[in-house]
């Protein structure tokens, strides 16, 4: 279908964008448009205006300062994928980004747009959870930061105020022993995952000292499987511990049924991913494989 009629505004600065957002309460921000335009074409959204922030230089750039990686909101998926800085400072994002849609969509889609859209099947919100990212937002009252675990509040819902703009995402650069894993299962490469897992942890003396398992496409938001992770802490992800974690996953996830897969299938696949991803994160098991 075609999108419904709307007005189009292109502010020249971030300050102007914030002012437009206040004076147009039914407007939506347009960044890369790779989720918003499908929603408009399907008439799932009918904003009065689109405020096109896609060219604001203030929202561009990737940098590392004092051990923190800062990715500005308009960083496109294709930029993330090609960035040597991301490959080195955020291996999880580097691994995940190739699974985000297709080349012709990665060339336009942005990290800020993906996080603000909060699609439960999207890769980047799960990565933000696993990496304990901090999301920096700007509003009429100034800047504030929101922890990823507080940011995603529901199905396509976030803690972002209607008069605020997501400015950047910040994550710690990897510490000693940091390990990451990412896998998803989809019918066609680049399509929304049936189930996916973004994991971050730390290995100390051959055992997992930290582990965050962020599942996506299993509920209204990406979900941290804390019970399953607890079963693996202090272990070397041996077969017995992995089995305990797989069993505990039923306490963490209650996936929905849909056309792609039943709840039981999703839980089964989540367990398959648990074993594969956690095993891939353990140095000695990588060698054994």
């Amino acid at each position: 279908m075609k999108a419904p009629a709307f007005g189009y505004l292109r502010p020249a600065s971030l300050a102007e964008a914030l002012a437009l957002l206040q004076s147009h309460p039914d407007a939506k921000l347009l960044a890369g448009g790779q989720s918003l335009l499908p929603a408009l074409n399907l008439r799932l959204s009918q904003p009065s205006h689109l405020i096109d922030i896609g060219r604001l230089a203030e929202l561009c750039g990737i940098s590392v300062q004092q051990g923190r990686l800062r990715i500005a909101a308009l960083t496109r998926h294709a930029e993330l994928q090609a960035s040597p800085l991301i490959a080195q400072a955020a291996p999880l994002l580097h691994a995940a980004i190739q699974h985000v849609a297709h080349p012709a969509i990665r060339s336009r889609g942005t990290i800020g747009g993906s996080l603000a859209n909060a699609d439960p099947a999207a890769e980047l919100p799960a990565c933000a959870l696993a990496l304990q990212a901090r999301i920096d937002v700007l509003g009429p009252g100034g800047a504030r930061s929101i922890q990823a675990c507080d940011f995603f509040t529901g199905l396509f819902e976030t803690a972002l105020g209607s008069d605020e703009i997501l400015a950047a995402v910040e994550i710690d650069t990897p510490c000693e022993g940091a390990v990451f894993g990412f896998q998803e299962l989809a019918r066609r490469s680049g399509d929304y995952a049936i189930v996916g897992l973004a994991a971050a942890g730390r290995v100390e003396g051959g055992a997992l000292a930290e582990l965050r398992l962020a599942y996506f496409s299993v509920g209204a938001t990406a979900i941290l499987a804390t019970n399953a992770a607890a079963c693996l802490l202090g272990t070397a992800a041996d077969p017995a511990s992995l089995s305990r974690a797989e069993a505990a996953l039923a306490q963490d996830l209650d996936p929905p049924d849909d056309l792609q897969a039943s709840s039981a299938t999703r839980l089964h696949l989540a367990r398959v991913l648990l074993r594969r991803v956690v095993s891939s994160m353990m140095p000695q098991q990588r060698l054994a494989a």
Partner: protein
């Protein structure tokens, strides 16, 4: 209406567009460039693939208003310049099209891969074309055509 100025296949175009007009509809309806096809209109099928500022995009997921100031290239431009004549001939030789609906998008996406990776593996070709649906060929002939073009270009 919004005033836009952009370059389409090397020609500077000034036009008035409605905000809701997609770039592919602007190209097809206002400029008569009907080579980019409309399939799903929500970014799934890849039939509307075009090039904007050197990168491939979904023509149905970009507004004409967003393309103000951009350099746009369509299958007509790539054909007329001869940039993809060998790739198009390989599609014919390998029977890599039947109805032809997906073909303009396939050719632009395949050329994008060959520009960035001159000798791709079959897996890399499949991955790069994964966002372009073909309902006729079963894809094998398309992969063959892209690989044959890569090999021929390397030997040229």
């Amino acid at each position: 209406m919004i005033a836009i100025t952009l370059t389409v296949n090397g020609e500077t175009i000034a036009a008035q567009v409605e905000p809701r007009t997609h770039l592919v509809d602007f190209l097809r309806e206002q400029l008569g460039l009907t080579g980019a096809h409309l399939g799903c209109e929500h970014g799934v099928c890849g039939a509307c693939t075009i090039r904007v500022d050197g990168a491939i995009v979904r023509g149905c997921l970009v507004l004409a208003a967003q393309a103000d100031g951009s350099v746009v290239e369509t299958i007509e431009g790539l054909s007329d310049s001869g940039e993809i004549s060998d790739l198009a001939q390989a599609f014919i030789d390998r029977n890599a099209l039947q109805c032809g609906y997906c073909t303009p998008g396939m050719l632009i996406a395949a050329q994008d891969l060959l520009l960035h990776d001159p000798s791709p593996t079959r897996e890399a070709i499949r991955e790069h074309l994964s966002g372009n649906y073909c309902r006729c060929t079963g894809y094998h002939a398309i992969i063959d055509a892209v690989q044959a073009t890569a090999r021929a270009r390397e030997q040229a």
